[in-house]
């Protein structure tokens, strides 16, 4: 079903050394006393028409990455290029124009729709902002979008509270689609939904991608969801990318010990099948004061001395397979992830 990605596909979104720190303020004068390094030096690319899955446990910074790319949160450092355009250095009118091309679907379908606005207004807000003053024209697009996401035309006059979670998520998707974007961030779009609804929404997202050809940055914590939808996958741990590769090689040959532990935790449908479960020790350390060297080393089952001293670089250890780990042998030539 899923089309495998040709290697020569064009890069649409290039993220280079992205850093997002949140200041921690204290005292009477609210001075900055420390930084939470939510995203620390993350680089990856999203290609034309592909789905890039970003996985990691809660608090690892994956949502922050997606929001920083869209400039909903200010970046601390690094750069993001969309079609060669430097996203962090745009004048306000250029940024507004860019927003047509980059949209977002949120995790929580209850907080992502304005409860005081009818659904039609929610979907067409972007059209109005981008200069479509004629309400008949806007209405026509709203009807079309509702149809595309599997809702009825009369739903445009309803308010968000009249819909179920799955329907609300469809409204959120319709809003993202209305501007006809080329890139959509899906920030855990199914994790708040029932399992039966999850697959409906995932299939809708895939069908829409086939129809319109846009790229997704798909953020999730559920590895089976990511396997279902992604072409390539990036695994994050504590603000850093530890592994980036195609879906096939990630699930067949995970190289980073963290990825291996994550994959071993996926429940299998067959209760008789025994599988070795890698149980990680301890808790995720605070991003306020991350461990030295490899951030994973305090919990890593195979950590050596070097791991606590040097920060591993994300390197191409296998073709199309980038890993940030000192202990993974390089086969062939190593190149940095973004060139």
């Amino acid at each position: 079903m899923t089309v495998s990605v040709p290697v020569a596909q064009k890069d649409m979104l290039v993220v280079q050394n992205l850093k997002t720190y949140f200041p921690v303020r204290a005292g009477v004068f609210q001075r900055v006393v420390a930084h939470v390094k939510a995203v620390d030096d993350v680089s990856f690319t999203v290609r034309e028409g592909e789905t890039f899955g970003l996985v990691g446990e809660s608090g690892c910074g994956k949502t922050t990455v997606s929001r920083t790319i869209l400039r909903l949160i200010p970046a601390t450092g690094g750069s993001v290029f969309f079609d060669g355009q430097d996203v962090f250095n745009l004048r306000s009118n250029e940024l507004k124009a860019l927003r047509r091309n980059m949209q977002i679907v949120f995790q929580d379908p209850y907080s992502s729709l304005d409860p005081r606005m009818p659904v039609g207004d929610i979907i067409s807000e972007g059209l109005l902002i981008h200069g479509m003053k004629d309400s008949k024209q806007r209405n026509a697009i709203v009807q079309e979008m509702l149809d595309k996401v599997g809702l009825n035309p009369y739903h445009a006059h309803r308010y968000p509270h009249e819909f179920s979670g799955g329907q609300r998520q469809r409204i959120g998707i319709a809003r993202a689609l209305s501007l006809n974007p080329r890139f959509i961030v899906c920030d855990e779009p199914v994790s708040a939904l029932d399992v039966s609804i999850q697959s409906q929404i995932l299939n809708l997202l895939k069908a829409l991608q086939r129809e319109f050809g846009f790229s997704y940055l798909f953020v999730a914590h559920d590895l089976s969801v990511v396997e279902h939808i992604s072409d390539r996958v990036g695994v994050m741990y504590l603000g850093k990318l530890v592994e980036v590769t195609t879906r096939e090689s990630l699930y067949e040959e995970p190289l980073h010990p963290y990825t291996q532990a994550l994959l071993s935790a996926i429940p299998t449908p067959n209760p008789r099948r025994r599988r070795e479960r890698i149980v990680l020790k301890g808790e995720v350390p605070s991003p306020l004061n991350p461990p030295t060297g490899c951030r994973f080393h305090p919990r890593c089952p195979i950590a050596k001395e070097i791991c606590s001293q040097e920060i591993p670089v994300l390197e191409e250890k296998r073709p199309e397979h980038y890993v940030a780990c000192h202990l993974v042998d390089v086969v062939g030539k190593s190149t940095p992830v973004v060139g």
């Binding site: 609210q30 929001r67 869209l70 909903l72 940024l95 507004k96 927003r99 047509r100 980059m102 949209q103 977002i104 949120f106 995790q107 929580d108 907080s111 992502s112 729709l113 304005d114 409860p115 005081r116 606005m117 009818p118 929610i122 807000e125 972007g126 902002i129 981008h130 209405n139 009825n152 035309p153 009369y154 006059h157 309803r158 308010y159 509270h161 009249e162 959120g172 809003r175 501007l179």
Partner: protein, 333 residues
């Protein structure tokens, strides 16, 4: 011809198909829902009716008042209400003065009717100023945060820390003789004093609301499609804060009416007028002051304005409770 043709076309374009028509029940907005919930609340509806009644009384006072409230009916002072056959001083009520007369022979009912004007104006006008100032500053502080927020919130802390009644008394006493103290028989000064004290509560309330709302995903979504800050503030955050603002308003009004009554009783409110051209001749607070000296023998002079104040304040509180329940269903139970 042309108009009907276009409406026909317009209707045909949006008309749901046969199948969906059955499902398409009328959709209710938040405000329609809230209105229906309010109508189901008997106390709130009763309160609203009483308030409406007093508003009409205030507007049509000259028509409704049976006597000139300034007219001194010599020899007819201290008459009890019409249903009292013999007062402590041996006088009998007459239907001419339904609620009796005061020491100077002025009709109590007529004065009560004119007094409604002051209470209504004191209730609504300062509240409008408070809402406009409080909402604007609360929006700005909450939305922009940072040092703007810090400065505004420290100012509200200072205003909060000052005892309200003491402030009113000082202002009304100190500025009584000045031009603004004279304006509208002292009412204008009262408006200013009320607004100065009460905007902080609204500003804080709105700020808190904005802080919570601006982190919601629908605000981010609106930014992601390219909304300006102005649009986000006025199309998303303000409409979602209207509920608490309206409820705050419903409780500010009775507070202002009580304050006027207290200040009037202390002789610091509206100064009683003797000029028939004045719109505001007397207030319920001033009537309380005039009535208290005769409390043993002529209790109606005190009871009439006291009951009027209590009734209006109670009605506003009922309406406020009803509005709160209607606008924020989560607060019920």
């Amino acid at each position: 011809m042309t108009t009907s043709a276009t409406t026909q076309v317009g209707k045909a374009a949006v008309a749901p198909s046969e199948m969906t028509k059955a499902l398409a029940r009328p959709s209710r907005s938040f405000w329609q829902d809230a209105w229906l919930r309010l109508l189901h609340n008997k106390a709130a509806v009763a309160g609203a009716i009483v308030i409406l009644f007093f508003m009409l009384v205030a507007v049509f006072a000259p028509v409704l008042a049976p006597h000139n409230p300034l007219e001194l009916n010599s020899g007819k002072g201290f008459l009890p209400p019409m249903w009292v056959e013999q007062s402590a001083t041996g006088k009998a009520g007459t239907p001419e003065f339904i609620l009796g007369t005061d020491n100077l022979g002025r009709d109590v009912l007529s004065r009560l009717i004119y007094g409604a004007r002051v209470s209504m104006v004191v209730g609504f006008i300062p509240t409008l100023i408070i809402i406009v100032v409080g909402v604007s500053l609360g929006l700005v502080a909450g939305y922009w945060g940072g040092s703007t927020d810090n400065i505004l919130m420290r100012i509200t802390d200072v205003v909060y820390a000052f005892p309200d009644l003491l402030f009113f008394i000082i202002v009304m006493t100190a500025l009584r003789a000045t031009a603004i103290g004279q304006f509208l028989n002292g009412l204008f000064l009262l408006f200013v004093a009320l607004a100065l004290v009460n905007w902080v509560g609204v500003a804080r309330l709105v700020r808190g609301q904005v802080l919570a709302l601006k982190e919601r995903d629908f605000v981010l979504a609106s930014r992601a499609v390219g909304s300006t800050h102005m649009r986000i503030m006025f199309r998303h955050i303000l409409p979602n804060s209207m509920g608490v603002i309206i409820v705050a308003m419903a409780f500010l009004i009775p507070g202002a009416i009580i304050t006027e009554a207290i200040l009037g009783y202390l002789g610091l409110g509206l100064r009683p007028s003797t000029d028939p051209a004045d719109i505001f001749i007397t207030s319920w607070g001033s009537m309380l002051l005039e009535g208290q000296s005769a409390i043993n023998n002529q209790p109606w002079l005190l009871l009439a304005p006291a009951i009027a104040v209590a009734l209006v304040v109670l009605s506003f509180n009922f309406l406020g409770d009803g509005l709160r329940d209607a606008l924020d269903p989560r607060l019920r139970e």
